[in-house]
Amino acid sequence: MRFVFTDEQSMFKDGLDRLLEKTFSIETRRKMIESKEAHSEQVWAGLAELGALGVPLSEESGGLGGAGIEAMIIMQHLGKHLVLEPYISSVILAGGLVDLCGSEFQKKVLIPELVAGEGKLAFAHAEQLNDEGGTELETTATQEGNKWILKGQKKLVLGGATADRFIVSAKTREDGEKVGVTLFIVESLDDRIGGKAYPLIDGSRVLDIQLNGVEVGPESVLGTIDQAQPFIDCVNDRATAVICAEALGVMEVIHEMTMDYLRTRKQFGSALSQFQVLQHRAVDMFINIEEVRSLVIHAAGKAWSENSHERTRAVSAAKALTNRAGRLVAQEAIQLHGGMGMTQELPLADFVRRLLSIELLFGSERFQRRRFMSSDEQVVDRSVFVSPKKRWKQI
C-alpha cells in the first residue's frame, strides 16, 4: 500500500492542469453548451496530445497501460475545470469494452483512432430510465444469414451526440431467467438510426437513438455472442468509480468558492467566516470531501481489478458516499452563499448542476448501498482481514 503519487503521475497532473487552464474556463463552457457540439475539440485534442485518451487502456490494445488511479487523476481534473468532454463515454465505457472484448482487428481499427482523438465512441445501453436497478433489455439483435438486425431504442447515450461509432448492447437470447447479451459496433452515420440530442441539467449533451432494424455484419460483433454482461458490468463500475473522481474535483472547487465567499462577505459587522455555526458547516463540507477522496482512491484502485466482488464493493461504496456528500456539499454551499447561491450568474451554479447530474447518473445512494451490502458476503473472507465471525458463533 502506498498513498503517494509516482513522479509520472504528478507530472501528468501538472500537464492536465496546464492544458485545462489554458484552453478552458467557465465562460468557454457556457458558450460551448449553447453550441452545436457542446464540447471543445481543442480540449479533446489537448487530452489526446497528453496521452490522456489512451491512459487507462491496456498496452496490448494500443493504450498506455494505466488503470484506475490514472483515470481518477484525469476525471478529477476534468471535474475541477467542469470540462464537457465525453471522456467517460468514449474512453472508459466504449473504449473499455473494445479493450476488454475486441478482436485484434477491432482494436487495431478503433483504439489508435480513439487515442489520437480522431474517432469518438459511445456506449448505447440504457433503455429504462424509470426503473433504477431494473435490468430488462428490450433491444434485440436477430440473426438473418450472417447479418444481425438490431431493433429497439437506447436512451441517455452519454457522448452520443458527437460519437462516430456506438457500441450497442442487445438481447440475443432469452431462455426463461437467462438472458444472453451481445455487443455490436454500429456506425453513427447509419441512416437507420434515428437520433435525438438534448441537454442534461448540467448542459452536457446526450442522445436518444432509435434502431429501426439496423443491419450489421458479423465483423461488428464485439466479443463473444451472449456473453457481454460481465464486461458491461465491468465498464459500468469503472465509469462509476471515475465519475466519483469527477465529483470530487467539482466538490473541491465548490468548497473553495464557499470559503472565499465566507471570508469576503460581511454581515453584522463581521466576515461570515467569523460565525461559529458557519465555520462548523464549512468543516463538515471539508470532512465530507476528504472522505470522498478516500473512497475515490479506494474505488480507483479496485475498479480495474479482476475480482468483481471486490470491484463492486469498492465502487458502490464510493458512489453511495459521493452522492450523500455531494448533496451535502452543494446544499451547504448554496446556503452559505445565501441569496447569491441561488443565482445562475455565479459559476457555483454550473458546478452545483453538474454535481446533481452525477448524483443521478450511475446509481443512487440507496441503490449503491444495497449493491454494496449484497457484494459484502462474498468479499469478506477474501480480504486481508479475517473476520472474527467464528468466535461470535459460539455466543
Binding site: N130, G134, Y198, P199, I201, F268, R366
Partner: protein, 398 residues
C-alpha cells in the same frame, strides 16, 4: 383540548372542497399539480374567484373585508385548496402589506390600498433585501430624503420576487443615519410605474426568472406614502416578518406534494418493482410524513395561541425552519423516485403549451429544477440560521 375536527369544521372543509372544485380553473389546477410554470394571469383568475366568494383575506379583520376565520378554518382552507391544486396567491399584498396597513396605516392609506389588494387590482412586491444587507437587514443603504412633500429614493433592492408583475412596492428605506442602524429606517409605499424605477431580472439556479433587482434613481414618492412614523420602520418590518413566517410553513402544499410523491412511487420502479414496495424508500417517506404531521399540529398550536393572544411569537421561527426543511426534503424524494428521468433539461416541457415527448417521463421534467429552486426556502424570509438565532435569543434566552 380537543384535536378532532368539529362537525362545523368538517362541514366547512366540504364547503371549501366544493367551492374549489367548481371555481378553480382546470388549466390552473393542472399546472400546479404537474409543477408547470404559472403566469400572472393563472394566479389572478384564482384570486378573483376567491375575491368574489369573499374568501380572499382569511386573516384580515371583518371590517376591512377579511373572512374572520379562526386559525383552524384558515388551516382547513389552506390544506383543502392546496390539495386540489390551487396556486399560492401572491403573499405580498394579502399576507404582508395588508396586515401592516391594517395595523399601522392611515385611514387614507387603508381606503386607497386595501380594496385594491382584495380585488387583485394591485399586485405588490417587497423591497427589503439589498446586495449588502441580507441576513443583516437593518444595515440597508437605500436612502430616502425628504424634499418638500416627497421623499427622493436612491438605492437598490434585490431578490424582489415577482417585481415584474407588481404594481406597487413596499420598501424599507433609510431616512436618517441614527446611532443604531435599526433607527432611521422607514417604510414607504411606492408605485412601480414611478419614473426612476428599473426592474432587472435575476435568473436563478433552476434557469427561471422569479426574482429581480429593483433600482431606484431619484424616485419621487409622495410623503403621504410613509407608513407609520418616519424612522420607526424597523418595528413594522419585524411585525411583517413574523407574519411571513407563519404562512411559510406551507403545510397545505407539502401535504399535496407528499401525496404526489406517493403517487410517483407507484409509477416509478426500483429493481423492477414499484418504488412503494421498497422498504428503505418507504421508511424515508414515513419519516417525512410523520415530521409533516408534527409540523401541522405545531402550526395549529401556534396559530391557536396567536388567535387568543395577539401576534405570533418567535415560536413561529420553528414553523419557518421545519416547514422549509420539509418542503426541501419533498423535492429531494420526488427527485430520488424519478431518478435518471429527471436528468434531461427541457424547460419548455414545463411550460403549458408543450406537446412533445420527453426522454424520461414527462412529469419528471420539472423535478430537478424544482429541487434547485427550493433551495431558496431555507434562505428567504430570514435564513434558517437567523431563525435559530432568534429562537436562541428570544425563546431560550441564551
Amino acid at each position: 383540548m380537543d384535536i378532532n375536527f368539529s362537525e362545523q369544521e368538517i362541514k366547512f372543509s366540504e364547503e371549501v372542497r366544493d367551492f374549489v372544485s367548481q371555481h378553480l380553473p382546470g388549466d390552473v389546477s393542472r399546472k400546479v399539480l404537474e409543477h408547470k410554470r404559472l403566469d400572472k394571469d393563472d394566479v389572478q383568475r384564482w384570486h378573483v374567484a376567491l375575491y368574489q366568494k369573499g374568501w380572499i383575506a382569511p386573516n384580515w379583520p371583518d371590517r376591512f373585508g377579511g373572512c374572520g376565520w379562526n386559525s383552524v378554518y384558515q388551516h382547513i382552507f389552506d390544506v383543502e385548496s392546496a390539495a386540489l391544486g390551487a396556486p399560492r396567491l401572491s403573499p405580498f399584498g394579502l399576507g404582508m402589506i395588508g396586515p401592516v396597513l391594517v395595523a399601522y396605516g392611515t385611514e387614507t392609506q387603508q381606503s386607497t390600498y386595501l380594496p385594491k389588494i382584495l380585488s387583485g387590482e394591485n399586485w405588490w412586491c417587497q423591497g427589503y433585501s439589498e446586495p449588502g444587507s441580507g441576513s443583516d437587514l437593518a444595515s440597508l443603504n437605500t436612502r430616502a430624503e425628504r424634499k418638500g412633500s416627497s421623499y427622493i429614493v436612491n438605492g437598490q433592492k434585490t431578490w424582489t420576487t415577482h417585481a415584474q408583475w407588481a404594481d406597487m412596492i413596499f420598501c424599507l428605506v433609510r431616512t436618517s443615519s441614527g446611532a443604531r442602524k435599526q433607527e432611521g429606517i422607514s417604510l414607504l409605499l411606492c408605485d412601480m410605474n414611478t419614473p426612476g424605477i428599473e426592474v432587472r431580472p435575476i435568473v436563478t439556479l433552476d434557469g427561471e426568472h422569479e426574482v429581480n433587482e429593483v433600482w431606484f434613481q431619484d424616485v419621487e414618492v409622495p410623503a403621504e406614502n410613509l407608513v407609520g412614523e418616519e424612522g420607526k420602520g424597523w418595528s413594522i418590518a419585524k411585525f411583517l416578518l413574523s407574519h411571513e413566517r407563519t404562512a411559510i410553513a406551507g403545510v397545505g402544499v407539502s401535504r399535496r406534494e407528499l401525496v404526489y410523491l406517493k403517487h410517483l412511487a407507484t409509477v416509478h420502479k426500483f429493481h423492477g418493482k414499484p418504488a412503494k414496495e421498497d422498504p428503505v424508500f418507504m421508511d424515508r417517506i414515513a419519516e417525512l410524513e410523520i415530521d409533516l404531521l408534527a409540523l401541522e399540529m405545531t402550526v395549529l398550536r401556534v396559530a391557536s395561541g396567536e388567535a387568543s393572544g395577539g401576534e405570533p411569537g418567535p415560536e413561529a421561527s420553528i414553523l419557518k425552519i421545519r416547514g422549509t426543511e420539509i418542503q426541501q426534503r419533498l423535492t429531494e424524494l420526488q427527485l430520488e423516485v424519478v431518478g435518471q428521468s429527471a436528468l434531461p433539461h427541457l424547460p419548455m416541457a414545463w411550460g403549458d403549451s408543450w406537446m412533445g415527448e420527453t426522454p424520461g417521463a414527462i412529469h419528471a421534467a420539472p423535478l430537478a429544477a424544482r429541487y434547485l429552486n427550493h433551495r431558496k426556502t431555507s434562505i428567504y424570509g430570514g435564513t434558517n440560521e437567523i431563525q435559530r438565532n432568534i429562537i436562541a435569543q428570544r425563546v431560550l434566552g441564551l
